[in-house]
Symmetry: C3
């Protein structure tokens, strides 16, 4: 079976990918073979599973997985010696080890270097060795596609677009003229890179379009989700640094800069000219105002609107807590009149600010 | 005129579609003929219109519609005997009866079974009788397309995708490898089914991609709106049960399960591994956190963030009530300092907790 | 160099485009030549830059731009006579003047009237002079494409679609049957015009689809961003009036009407049957409920939910102010119990409602 490995082999393969720093200890049968991954509750003898979230300990205790990666603490809490899965991989970062192990078990299919006959490729485009271009793709003049890159069916690469070595554009990605994508990027279907930023000046009750003459420059190892949109710069460029991970339906406005290894969950919107630091995490549907700066290492909860600079790393939230609609109706009225409530407290204080013993004579 | 029917014929046709349970009574001229539908204010003699929302009663009273469907209560309130539209259809569920009637008047155009010459179809794909494949579509190896299904222009079906009988994919739908779509589904342009879920593990300041090896499994009679995205499972599958209706620009993360006949309005985001019950309704731009469970029959207001399990059916809301910006500026400050206000009340209470009569001597 | 002009020539060219009403005064070397635009901090001698936001005054003071457009007030505050950039353009609306100047320096590339051989164009489609149709586009029966319009690669125009003169559809735009787009519109990649509105009636625990038989009618000079979706009307039409500007990932439901010259930022959702007035501005990720009316000239902050009519022009906001997560946790609890806090204040007031002097004896 392709990808079937003993735990011993898997540990060695992960170690080769991850380098030192993900030390593990095997317990049980190191020769037990696995060929797939599965969640704790569905896993069977040929599956590797993982326990990272303590919430799922009960599932781990009863898992049918042939191999399980978990922390030493969880291992001690869950299984008597010799009990549990046939092989345990004990590791300080089980989720990370699992990620590498899954990559080993499910290697990327190597692209077949091929240019589909139905693709329309300008003769001036430079397609390097091992790159593939899918059916119905359109590649304009001056495009450069790096070694082993894959451009999926129906993709559109505008004039002078660059796609780095080993990058993969899934079917139906569109990249406007001049934008640059680094190496080993993954871009999912429906994503649009380099459309015009939203720039208009008011004039006599109407809007005058400001030509958007910058580009989008995307670093290496960036992933961009389905139907996400990243606008080209108005004058300077929109920059996505190395290792940024962007989920689906994310909108990034013109002239933003997203720092390296920042992760942006689905449905996030980032208005124009905002700079986001390195290693940030933006929760789903967070909304980031334009022209602000967010420090390295900030974490923003989902559904939170960030309306001014975040100067310090930290964990920021702004969500209206949900409640039953009936209760919310009352709360909304109170919230609309919060200043009145404050005033009532102030009046009480002004009357009774001193202890009764003093005010009474 | 195609689709022109008398009210009598229309009632019979609806009854045939809906089965018993939508009893109606005709008043006025049952032979009056209609050929189209129109809103109350624009409707003319050949139009059928409906009154479902009491708010529109004044429009109904003055409608020029030749036929009107409404409740007995509205009928009694609005028209003297013999007055009003030429035909009245009296029904407990006028909106539902109208829906069926509109389907009768505007039947789906039967697809022409055809494979466009420009489509690229792998020889191993199995296209059943009556199915159509539009221009520039790309159908990969192992795909199965059921009887009478329509795959629109520029659609992409990855390897081993299944599309059930009678389903319709509008132009530019993309389905990644292995995903399954049931029968009689409608998927609108730009939707992406089965892109990778957003799964990464942290390692040394960067992110390690977790291969997403599950699929998306979509039941029968599901509708998915334009530019909506449903991610494939990380390990298990993402499941959309029968009869689910999904509007535009909805994002559903990996390993979610959406219960049968749940309706999800536009711009909703549902993070990964969340289970939503049957018959729920999620309002536009609601945001649902990952790894939670929502009970059958929950209704969530638009723009509401659900951040933990909903264990009981109910109507839930969490919207910051809008106000003038000036007033909001004050409210926001108060809200940031709500704990201080509470403390001030507590101090007052601690001083004056007893009635004056007791504290006074 | 193409587009290189002296400031004198540029002023004349802008004046020709804008007509009277954008009076400017040149200071310094009116013969200084510029060929590009750049932000204040990056601009060099051959660049035009602008100062519109007082926040960027320090950047303006040190700009290397050869030419700078700014207000008389900023001009007086920033530069001694003879100092600063080689040419100053002094203007009451520098951002607007800059917009026109950038249009002059970066003229739209004239479309090459051409029909790509790979495009599939129904013989009944009427393509007027100077229009271009990109590779892999699909043009159905009865389509009309106006003079000089550009239909990009992989676009889909359904039966009977109309595209006005000079409009530009970027690659991968999809327009459903019967929709009409005016003149000089710009529609970005991935946008979907005219998909079915979200209309279903409940019946026996399931949903009955209501045929969506209206269209989308788009006026002149409208811009629509990448992956935005505008649904066709259920019965009447969805209408986008002249000069409306719509950013990326905006969702507009069936039967909405958007008034002329309204600007809608990214990720906004507008539910069905809502009417928005002329000259409104909706901030990013604002959510507008269905079946409401918003007056001309309303401004809505980003991330704000508008849940009922706005009858007066004004500036409206409803954002939960973000804070540290720790503080938010406390605030959320207080907010859930705001009615209890109010009650505590009421109790205090009922006990101590009268001034101490009166209650004390």
């Amino acid at each position: 079976m392709p990808g079937e490995l003993s735990i011993e082999q898997l540990v060695a393969a992960v170690s080769q990918r991850a380098g030192p720093g993900l030390a593990v200890r095997i317990e049980g049968n190191a020769l037990h073979r696995v060929s797939a991954v599965a969640p704790l509750q569905a896993a069977q003898a040929a599956d590797l599973s993982f326990l990272a979230n303590p919430r799922y300990r009960p599932h781990a205790a009863n898992t049918g997985a042939g191999a399980l990666v978990l922390t030493a603490v969880d291992r001690a809490a869950l299984f008597a010696t010799g009990a549990g899965p046939r092989a345990l991989v004990i590791c300080e970062a089980p989720y990370t080890w699992f990620a590498f192990a899954a990559q080993v078990l499910f290697p990327e299919e190597p692209a077949t270097a091929a240019r589909a006959p139905s693709a329309v490729v300008d003769p001036s485009a430079r397609v390097e060795e091992g790159a593939s271009i899918g059916p119905q793709a359109v590649i304009e003049a001056g495009v450069r596609i790096g070694r082993g890159a894959q451009v999926g069916a129906g993709c559109y690469l505008g004039p002078d677009v660059q796609v780095g070595a080993g990058s993969r554009l899934h079917p139906g990605v569109r990249v406007y003229h001049g934008c640059r994508i680094g190496a080993r990027c993954i871009i999912h279907s429906g994503a649009v890179i380099g459309a015009d930023g939203f720039g208009f000046a008011p004039y006599r009750g109407a809007w005058v379009k400001i030509p958007q003459v910058g580009i989008v420059a995307i670093g290496d190892d960036v992933e961009i989700g389905a139907c996400s949109t990243i606008d080209r710069g108005a004058m300077g460029d929109t920059v996505i640094e190395d290792g940024v991970k962007i989920d689906n339906q994310v909108q990034i406005g013109h002239n933003c800069r997203i720092g390296a290894h920042t992760a942006i969950a689905g449905c996030v919107g980032i208005a124009g000219s905002t700079t986001i630091g390195r290693g940030c995490q933006l929760g789903g549907a967070a909304m980031i105002q334009g022209h602000i700066t967010i420090a390295d290492g900030c974490v923003v909860s989902g559904a939170t609107a960030i309306t001014r600079d975040l100067r310090e790393p930290g964990f920021y939230t702004g969500i209206f807590p949900f409640m039953t609609n009936r209760k919310w109706e009352r709360s909304a009225v109170l919230l609309r009149n919060l200043d009145e409530l404050r005033e009532r407290v102030r009046v009480l204080e002004s009357r009774f600010g001193r202890p009764p013993s003093e005010s009474d004579s």
